[in-house]
Symmetry: C4
Subunit: 233 residues, 4 copies
């Protein structure tokens, strides 16, 4: 099989979604990129995880054209392609309809940074990109979804290297990382942070954000140049 | 065994309910229809899923008379019969007391359409049929439950082909589809959409509905004549 | 082993609690009575379910004196004894600290009857017995807990045959039934009904109770003299 | 292997965290102390539970210097060291980011004592230590986290023997006990009590605390000199 190791990376990452409780039926997809060949592997559209096979994974180029594979790729493929094309540093992308992340998306609100669980992963609010304009929706919708993520990051001055997650208003989350596996990790962290922020505001609707020193302390101890979290590898 | 394949379809679909977390004890039932013979198969009343056997499944006609089987059918059988008799396009029906769908039923409210998870499956609010009149309740209750679903769909101008789910006020959900399996799928989607809508309103009680262009875009990309979701089969 | 079948009934019913998600660690106990010998079997105090053995079950009389067994019985034993002594029709009792039932107990409120899931099991609000007086607490506390349940049922005009569950304010639920197994069933139903009522009021804080005709219809179709739910055995 | 039994106690206790649903990925750590040798064993930093091996456990002294082991210890190690150094009666410490405990931490509120589930374990509100000062955060952060716990206990007049849990504002819980296993037990109890208190206030925002007689009755029957809960061993 051509692109076997890329397909394997994509397949393994996709199979993490049901294990982590992030998907119902087929409501999610993960892709993995091979930068040396400028292609990415993605889940086929509408195939239940329990029936997904390695050879079903579809290989695409950055313009969302099929390079290899017999099945139709995820209907969200153009969004993945746009992100790979414009953000050279990412190696994998995950899209889910996980419950709490979707609830914040539907509410149309950024997730405020309330604690160190959030700050361990990013030091800013998790952005909710505004709903697409009618022109974007009626045009090349999934391609424009990628563009709306760029618009949001430009408007808020965010870097995709420091903020590896976004909500699309009325839709749900996209997350990414240096590998497909890490993009799934980000999807699980986002869902948990979304749940914690929800509960926090139910307990105290006037909860202020975490203060700057603590927010940056936790981000830096894990991601800064003098980071001391983990095994340094 | 007569009606074996119909019983099997019904049995398999019923056994999905506990796996999907949609039932506690015996609080649910699924039926499957054979249009060529004008009969449907349904779960027997009050039998726990762990003890349910293929031969326990009861075969009924559209007037809710037993055609084959030794056990008493589900107490909700007349509602199923009414739906099969009047809606020729459906092949299976599911009734559950799943938690979030029941909560909306008890609150007596339609589930507003807030996002694409909802719009991927139907492009309108999920209706809550008003509680039955005293005459209906004290008359042929389960038969009238079916009629109340028709009343609700007529009042709101809904099509059972585009809206495959309904809530009964103070009771719970009924869902349907082209097969019994698809009616179970609809029951699981409804429960998740009900949960997401609940959380959305807890986060932002003034959340507006999803706008028309996005609502229709998602419905059409999965169900329209130019649908491109799934493998086209 | 003496009292072997009674111990088995008690043991099996206790082991259902963790399977149904109704207990954390040792926070629950089930007892089973043998009316012919005027004794009941109960879980020993503080023994984790994973280590519980058949021979650990303790046999007690209705005055809460040990009849057989080497271990110390549940600290709630006198409450069980009081219920068996005064309510001759019950065969088993379950006490848990299940999450939603405890939340209602802590809030000190009866659980309003909002839907048919509730009405299928009892046609009235689930009562919350007021917190015990200081004299009762500082006296024979667990014995008086039984008495407070009787006080509550007397004040509200309830019958233990039609209402097989109660909340103790600031504490948690007790449930009962014709067998130990059925008392566990009632504990699971109570937890689910408590959760549904909670969610219903979060969605619509002004939700009215289910109307009388529907409430009685569902109770009667399952428990009335012309009941047609289940297999009639 | 040196310190084998200490490593085993630490390893076994750590492995309880995912089983009890208290951690996502690596968001938690447990330590176990050997008072006779004045060392403690702790989880290495950033190692997923599924890959954790006995020999990965790191042995530290009370000044948070590595005594034995090849891996980098948990980034929270200095907080553990401070607690062991100052509180001689504790044998194990657990830190998690469990969902409901974090929500209360983020809201910055003590968990009020509403019922007997709480009072069975401690007879006071569970304290939330205020967020550290900027000087503490920018200084020796994890060491100062331990100090902030002492400040909180001093301010509120609490004893670590009667209150085996604390929340750190904007962060999450630390719990302890006579053994590592008991500190994990406390972490699970805290999460459940936090969830129950949350639900209680959602049902009735004006819920008063449990009254003194009942609060002390339950604490004493389990922890007092005349305790009669458990098997007395």
């Amino acid at each position: 099989m051509t692109y076997q190791s890329l397909r394997e990376e994509c397949y393994e990452a996709n199979m993490q979604l049901p294990k982590l409780g992030l998907v119902l039926f087929t409501f999610g997809n993960v892709s993995a990129v091979d930068r040396s060949q400028a292609v990415f592997a993605i889940k086929p559209s509408g195939v239940p995880y329990e029936f997904l096979k390695l050879e079903d994974i579809v290989i695409m180029d950055y313009d969302a054209k099929v390079v290899d594979g017999k099945m139709r790729p995820s209907s969200d493929t153009k969004t993945h392609a746009q992100l790979y094309k414009n953000w050279e540093g990412i190696g994998g992308i995950t899209h889910t309809h996980s419950t709490y992340a979707v609830a914040w998306s539907q509410a149309g609100l950024d997730i405020p940074i309330f604690g160190t669980t959030h700050a361990d992963h990013t030091h800013q609010d998790i952005p909710c990109a505004p709903v697409l304009t009618d022109e974007m929706i009626e045009g090349d919708y999934e391609f424009e979804t990628g563009n709306q993520i760029f618009n949001c990051f430009a408007d808020k001055g965010l870097s995709y290297k420091e903020m590896e997650m976004v909500l699309l208003q009325n839709h749900g989350p996209f997350t990414w990382g240096k590998t497909a596996e890490k993009s799934v990790y980000s999807a699980a962290v986002l869902e948990e942070v979304a749940r914690m922020a929800y509960l926090t505001l139910q307990i105290n609707p006037n909860t202020p954000r975490i203060k700057d020193t603590l927010r940056l302390k936790h981000y830096e101890r894990k991601h800064g140049k003098n980071a001391y979290y983990g095994q340094g590898c």
